[in-house]
Symmetry: C2
Subunit: 228 residues, 2 copies
DNA sequence: ACCTGAACACCGTTCAAGT
DNA sequence: ACCTGAACACCGTTCAAGT
């Protein structure tokens, strides 16, 4: 037993990539994106800043890994539903909510090359499209549109919202955006102004799902076009 | 004449916000996003780095302004077409191509609060939706989906592509992405792997427009649902 | 009012030296 | 192999001093 264990025997407080990424997530959640410094992270891990570089290539990679972990965990909890459309909606909401809870993660999802989490999202969606019998030629387009929309909207929501649970000032925020838009030139921005006037009864999460449904309707019509 | 001019009389080389933003755009195009420094910018303008702060609040605002100018110029060139759908396609392509030419501008478009350029995009699209007689309740959702998709896809294309005109290594790039995806676990990523195998005959710009059409189909179906 | 440029605070990253 | 922490290079921003 001692023999097989010897290599694996690690001190409880040994520095590992996993511990570093977890500490980074905690730091990002606590202090925001600008709170993540190698110095602060080293302090949290009770080590030197240089030690981190032994396990992680650089800050960029660390941020990507942190975002990956957060979104992957959220995706892992998504179960299949009765219809592919519902499953797609669940995947979308899982991403939306996890980025809402970790607002720094949104930026990372749009990175290039794509993070593994983004590939997971597209994979989950793609399978549902196949289950929906979307023609092969349309599958890539459909998955792209859904993926783009999910990332983009989740990101924007997180940038607006700061922390999901306690939103006392949400109404104030909407009102301030609305009043700002109403000050735009009436000739140049008639549409924006009209939208601004409806902004009060706005539910981000419901709006997000309405967008998903709109895209699904487009996919359904492409499928019908193919049947003919 | 001397009297009315006195206030407006400025030396040719006077520092103005406009000159600063233009120099920033040139610097960003030449050296990339990380090439924009107050020191480098000051050198280009033959002044001290502190002088820039008299005309611009900070780097963030400067980046936003630069992106705004670039995208606004592209939008200004878009003319109305025979159908609202075609006009929307033209707006989308104008944004896509301008970000492709200035790849640093994509990130800025997704800023919060929204840049003026994004409001212009949504405005142009919104008016076309009204021309299409999209029900009022759907207009906001439809404009959001289109806006999200345009920004997200343009950004990703720019991050991939580096400079639009000379793309000799484009095929190589696609091939390398494809082979990377083919190395993913076959059980975990069947859809991604299938998509990867079709990646060779991929035209980003055509794909982008196909996505726009898919969304427009969704909008059309929402319109029909309303008619009933 | 507007410009100059040195100085400040802070950060990612490296690396010689340790264990 | 892995950790330490001082040092390096570089940057956004400020500000006293100039015109």
């Amino acid at each position: 037993m001692a023999k097989t264990k010897r290599k694996a025997e690690r001190r409880e407080d040994a520095l590992t990539r996993e511990r570093i990424v977890d500490a980074a997530i905690a730091l990002l959640d606590d202090e925001g994106e600008q709170g993540l410094t190698f110095r602060a992270l080293a302090a949290r891990l009770a080590t030197g800043s240089g030690a981190i570089y032994w396990h992680v290539t650089n800050k960029d990679e660390l941020l990507a890994a942190a975002s990956d972990v957060v979104v992957s965990r959220a995706l892992a909890d998504v179960r299949a539903h009765a219809t592919p459309e519902q499953t797609i909606g669940s995947v979308a909401l899982a991403v939306f909510d996890s980025i809402d809870a970790h607002c720094w993660a949104g930026t990372q999802l749009a990175r290039n090359p794509p993070t593994r989490a983004l590939l997971q999202i597209v994979e989950r969606i793609g399978r549902q499209l196949q289950a929906l019998r979307v023609p092969a030629a349309v599958q890539f387009t459909a998955a792209s549109v859904l993926g783009s929309y999910i990332i983009s909207e989740s990101r924007q929501n997180a940038a607006n919202g700061r922390s999901s649970e306690p939103r006392p000032d949400r109404a104030d925020f909407l009102a301030s955006v609305a009043s700002e838009w109403m000050q735009l030139d009436a000739d140049e921005f008639p549409f924006i102004r009209q939208v601004a006037s409806q902004l009060r009864e706005h539910d981000d999460r419901a709006e997000f799902l309405a967008g998903i449904d709109l895209i699904l309707a487009g996919i359904a019509s492409a499928r019908r076009a193919d049947d003919r």
